[in-house]
């Protein structure tokens, strides 16, 4: 493991110095997988899981595929990341199914948790710093560490493509660094192939639900600490419904790279010398990462509540139970037609299913006289300021949105088309496409949209809507069918919160900023701006308060060159906006 340190002499340092530093890094990073610790974890976790969840559902044919894959080539597990539970559950499941236990790339912040950090280490976690951009030695040690484990077939490597837990339950734009590291042994011929196994983990109710909402609203994430975890014991007494783990088909790196990567580009350097990925490789990695996240999304098991949450968010004033039932049923069929992986209980009346879901999520709802509404249930006794009231409501809305977000990937493409049709100047296909493409481009920080797939996405959207009888796609025109109105209206209101949110951000940048807005000030300033609009009754969309949306909007504006970032002083200057 330490062999690489020799190769990375930084100028000025003696070899011993570097070697020592490298071994310190390794000490900090390395896992110490011990079966006894794992057994202890399994014992406690099975208790905890039994209390938390009604059931944990696993696709067993996926487990069988994984068993096969592990025997063929080294395996990399790529679970989605929505909760701390994710990797605990992964290791637990693999243990229970008698599969090799993975070693897991975990964020450094866990390590600072007393005792727990060490426990995690002994159950297979290795720790990486959140940022080490400039530290070449760190990067070298880290990548060699991961590659050595992979090459030796020591254990499956597990890491999160999204890099961190998604606070919104939307998949995050994937990171490519670790993906490159696990693919490199294949690129360099050290392995015949590597199997990537995307794993989709979904929760009927997420443990960190309100925690995430608060964090998005600006209440900072508490530092990981053991006492925090102890306080979290409270969560043990609540019902979190079911949990779903879907092991996807293994994706062979070899077949993924076919025709895209010239492996001979690695012929001219000794293989122990780290090489920055070439532009081609980088593009490939990015593309592959997006595709893997898409697979995660597609395999995500969705519960009926996700549909209900979508409808409740579109009707802030609430709905009658009967019309909720009717619309949920309609939406269920739409979602199924669009390929959603919906776990709808068979042989149960729609109303039954709905009341079950409402019961599980009662803390977000008020139900009275057959009328359901999203509302604050555990409102503080003390009179609060109007600002506080807005925030309380926003927590509910954002919590609810995190469920709707789980199904966004199903509706996204048709929804973009629906909005494009509304805003395009004509019905001409190329006008609609241009509009679609613009929106797609705009939202590519917000949603998982594979770069370069614009035409494909457009065609997919057209196809789906045509199949539903919503649209007719003629040679040069796209025409709405008579019966298509309600579907299009629904679809465009799916994107509505995002459109509104981006408008708020752009209005803020246009109207409020002086020339020297620093990046740090941006989020609180936009939040205040949105808050004022809401208090003044000029904005109904609470999701505009989400820091995630605000960051994504800024990133999109930067990318579209509507806003310029001045590096030296870390200021953001705006130049004029497209929206």
């Amino acid at each position: 493991k330490q062999r690489d340190s020799r190769n990375h002499k930084q100028s000025g340092d003696s070899t011993e110095c570097v070697a020592e530093e490298a071994s310190l890094i390794l000490d900090e990073m390395a896992h110490r997988l011990q079966l006894s610790t794992v057994r202890f974890f399994v014992f406690t976790l099975s208790k905890a899981f039994k209390r938390l969840f009604r059931s944990v559902c696993v696709n067993e044919e996926g487990i069988q595929r994984l068993q096969q894959a592990v025997q063929e080539h080294p395996v990399v597990l790529l679970p989605s990341h929505r909760s701390y539970m994710d990797f605990l559950m992964m290791s637990y499941l693999l243990y229970m199914y008698d599969l090799p236990l993975p070693v897991i790339a975990a964020g450094m912040d866990f390590m600072s948790m007393k005792f727990v950090g060490e426990m995690l280490r002994m159950s297979g976690a290795f720790f990486i710093r959140r940022s080490f951009g400039g530290d070449k030695l760190y990067w070298a040690v880290f990548s060699e560490y991961v590659k050595t484990m992979l090459r030796n077939g020591y254990a499956p490597i597990e890491f999160f493509l999204e890099g961190t837990r998604s606070r919104t339950c939307k998949s995050l734009t994937p990171k490519t660094g670790l993906l490159n590291i696990v693919m490199e042994p294949f690129f360099k011929g050290e392995l015949f192939d590597v199997n990537l196994v995307p794993v989709s983990i979904s929760y009927e109710r997420i443990l960190e639900e309100s925690l995430y909402a608060r964090e998005l609203l600006g209440i900072p994430k508490p530092k990981e600490s053991t006492s925090g975890l102890l306080k979290a014991r409270r969560v043990l007494s609540e019902d979190y419904g079911s949990m779903y783990v879907y092991f996807g088909h293994p994706v062979s790196v070899r077949s993924l790279t076919e025709g895209k990567i010239t492996r001979s580009q690695y012929n001219l350097l000794p293989r122990c010398i780290p090489q920055k990925p070439s532009a081609d490789t980088h593009e490939f990695l990015n593309d592959a990462a997006f595709r893997l996240v898409r697979i995660q999304e597609e395999n995500m098991v969705l519960k009926p509540w996700v549909l209900i949450a979508t409808l409740l968010l579109q009707n802030p004033d609430g709905m009658d139970l009967s019309s909720l039932a009717e619309q949920t049923d309609w939406l269920r069929h739409l979602a199924l037609a669009f390929g959603a992986y919906l776990d709808w209980p068979d042989h149960e009346a729609c109303s039954e299913v709905i009341s079950c879901s409402l019961a599980l999520h009662r803390h977000l709802l008020s139900v009275s006289a057959g009328h359901v509404q999203l509302s604050v249930t555990d409102a503080p006794q003390v009179e609060s300021t109007p600002e506080e009231a807005v925030f309380h409501q926003a927590v509910v809305v954002l919590s609810c949105a995190s469920y709707r977000n789980q199904i966004l990937h199903v509706f996204l493409r048709p929804a973009l088309l629906a909005v494009a049709m509304q805003s395009a100047n004509s019905n001409r296909k190329d006008d609609v496409y241009n509009c679609f493409n613009f929106l797609r481009n705009m939202f590519s920080n917000e949603f998982i949209l594979c770069p370069g797939d614009s035409v494909q996405d457009f065609e997919e959207a057209c196809y789906l809507l045509m199949k539903r009888g919503v649209l007719q796609v003629l040679e040069h025109e796209i025409v709405m069918s008579a019966s298509g109105h309600s579907t299009l209206a629904f679809l465009s209101s799916v994107l509505d919160p995002f459109l509104q949110g981006y408008q708020v951000v752009s209005r803020y940048l246009c109207e409020e900023t002086n020339e020297n807005l620093t990046e740090k000030e941006f989020i609180p300033a936009v939040r205040n701006f949105a808050l004022k609009l809401i208090l003044a009754g000029r904005l109904k969309c609470y999701e505009a308060l989400s820091s995630d949306l605000q960051k994504n909007a800024l990133a999109a504006f930067l990318r579209l060159k509507a806003v310029r970032k001045v590096k030296v002083t870390y200021q953001v200057n705006f130049e004029g906006l497209v929206l």
């Binding site: 011929g189 010239t262 001979s264 000794p270």
Partner: protein, 618 residues
């Protein structure tokens, strides 16, 4: 006049002495220090050499002693006799006349082949399948006027239309004949070649030089797009050693001589070149030069580029040669390197001055068994690091070991500590004076011991080398029973040897599966040469093609994929087989656009009319 066990002549000095007496008269005709120009003049005088001399063992009508649709001599072949036992016919080899009882089990077990399922070859050449020659009459007449031997016989022409690629031999066995040369001409000396090339330029015909015909790169295939008359220039009659210079240890030899004759004749004078490619029974000196050949004993004697001191080549522009025999020159890029590996695209190599060495006093074979291939490669690497490689050191992987095992009782399973599914064997050949050989041997075995290697005896080593020469015959046997296969090679840096072997073998297995091959293929590798910075790796690949409609196409696709895998894993396009037409598509990738352009511009200058139009390499 062939001799039994001619492959290992150097080890049997008594028969060499006998030979010496027989040939003595012939050699005495030539004065010791005769120079090249004298030889050339003498050529005319001696032109119609009709005497049946052992110095010209390759007859013009090669088909009289060699198979027209398979490897090697007509009298030597593997077959399964009525009892279902394998035997090797003829008298030429050590294996000849022997019964190999366990070959059947290995053959059936490895390939899923069955002796009931035969795929026999067309028994004889169907002359009507050969297109009539497209003759350039004035050219032919001028050739005849110049006193050259010319033939339009279909058998002669078909014999020179192919090398030994699988697809070439497979087509012949099925009786399919493609484009063949229209004329065959046999020059008997350098000036004959000059005359032929001059006439070819004058009459604009296409010349394809033909040496031993052992190409495995489609180099001898007549280009389909060639509309001119194609003339095969067979160098086999230019096979004399013109002089031997004992002071400088060089010999000046006509380029048509084949390996075993060159070595035997030099042996009779107490010398050797030490150049022993696996094809040395049939391949010619000119062919070695034109493909950058490599011999198994290169560790002592060097590869062909290390052996040549002087080359004479006839090109359409005239004769290219250096003006002296200095051992090294700084006169710009070495012009020899335009000739070495030119694959018949620039001209005909007619005479070569080669380094020679006294026959080594002592030769000793050896073998080492390793617990696994990794350990074996590590040992070879260490041997290379210490620069103490024996004349030859080769490492076979487990699959090949299992093949070797069937043939001869390697009493190795007594090494019960080794897993027979993993162990592999290295064969060794030491040469030199006795004391040094023994010392050297100890050094190598000591290194091997560090990698878990156990010495496994001289006999096993010697058998290992013998197998090399009969393996090509084995392919013909396979083809009688629905099994096709071939070998291909590469060179690769040391650190990638294991990865490359594993990946290519696995790629072959996978590609076969994907292309509908019904039986698991034989996919094996061996390390056959060591260098300071890397090794030469050989792959043997064969499969049972029952159930496939176009087996050769499947074979070619798999070999193509395997080559891509080799290149992707840092291997070279070829270590010594050359590029020919088979691997042309990767030339640009291999040597860069500029590199290819350089070669093209040389071709453009030397042969603007594309007289040497075999379309190899570029």
């Amino acid at each position: 006049m062939e001799e039994n066990g001619s492959l290992f002549l150097s080890s049997s000095s008594s028969s060499a002495q006998q030979r010496l007496r027989i040939i003595a008269g012939h050699l005495q005709k030539r004065p010791e220090d005769e120079n090249a120009s004298v030889a050339a003049q003498e050529c005319k005088a001696e032109a119609p050499r009709s005497e049946p001399s052992s110095a010209t063992p390759v007859p013009r009508r090669r088909q009289e002693i060699m198979k027209w649709n398979g490897w090697g001599y007509s009298d030597s072949r593997f077959l399964f006799n009525k009892k279902g036992q394998a035997e090797f016919t003829g008298k030429r080899y050590r294996l000849s006349g022997l019964i190999l009882p366990s070959l059947k089990d290995w053959f059936e077990g490895t390939f899923g082949a069955n002796l009931q399922h035969r795929s026999p070859a067309t028994p004889s050449l169907n002359l009507s399948a050969v297109a009539p020659p497209n003759l350039n009459q004035p050219f032919v007449e001028d050739l005849k006027a110049a006193g050259l031997t010319v033939s339009h016989d279909p058998e002669d022409r078909v014999f020179r239309a192919h090398g030994h690629c699988l697809h070439e031999v497979f087509a012949l066995r099925e009786g399919r004949i493609g484009r063949v040369p229209d004329t065959v001409v046999w020059p008997s000396c350098h000036s004959d070649v000059e005359k032929i090339v001059e006439l070819a330029c004058e009459h604009n015909v296409c010349l394809i030089p033909y040496g031993g015909g052992t190409s495995v790169s489609s180099a001898l295939e007549c280009p389909r797009e060639e509309s001119r008359s194609i003339v095969s220039l067979d160098t086999s009659q230019m096979s004399r050693i013109l002089w031997i210079d004992e002071k400088n240890l060089t010999a000046h030899v006509e380029a048509g001589i084949i390996g075993q004759d060159l070595e035997r004749q030099l042996n009779e004078r107490g010398f050797c070149t030490g150049h022993e490619p696996d094809s040395m029974e049939f391949s010619s000196l000119g062919g070695w030069v034109a493909t950058r050949a490599s011999g198994m004993k290169k560790n002592i004697y060097g590869n062909i580029e290390d052996l040549v001191v002087h080359i004479k080549m006839v090109t359409p522009r005239g004769v290219i040669e250096k003006s002296c025999l200095g051992p090294r020159m700084s006169t710009g890029p070495d012009i020899h390197h335009f000739i070495l590996g030119s694959e018949g695209t620039l001209g005909v190599v007619t005479e070569v001055t080669l380094k020679i060495r006294p026959i080594p006093e002592y030769q000793k074979y050896g073998s080492v068994v390793f617990p696994n291939f990794q350990q074996g490669v590590a040992c070879l690497r260490e041997v290379a690091r210490q620069r103490c490689a024996p004349a030859s050191i080769r490492l076979m992987d487990n699959e090949q070991f299992q093949f070797g095992e069937f043939c001869f009782f390697l009493i190795l399973l007594s090494f019960f500590c080794f897993d027979p599914q993993h162990l592999c064997v290295a064969t060794l050949l030491f040469e030199g004076d006795r004391g040094k050989v023994l010392q050297h041997e100890k050094q190598v075995y000591d290194i091997a011991a560090k990698f878990g290697g156990l010495a496994a005896g001289e006999d096993n080593g010697q058998r290992g080398y013998m197998l090399t020469f009969v393996i090509a015959y084995l392919r013909d046997l396979g083809m009688d029973y629905y099994v096709i296969g071939e070998s291909f090679e590469t060179s690769v840096p040391w650190d990638r040897v294991l990865d490359l072997c594993r990946n290519v073998k696995e790629r072959i297995v996978r590609e076969c599966k994907e292309r509908g091959v019904q039986f698991p293929p034989l996919s094996t590798s061996r390390v056959t040469q060591t260098y300071d910075a890397g090794a030469c790796v050989y792959f043997y690949f064969a499969f049972n093609y029952r159930g496939l409609s176009d087996p050769v196409h499947v074979y070619e696709q798999v070999e193509h994929a395997a080559r891509e895998e080799i290149l992707a894993n840092g291997g070279s396009l070829s270590h010594h087989h050359g590029v020919g037409k088979l691997r042309k598509e990767w030339m640009k990738e291999s040597v860069s656009g500029v590199g290819l352009g350089m070669l093209k511009s040389v071709k453009e200058y030397v042969d603007p009319q594309n007289i040497f139009g075999n379309r190899n390499l570029l």
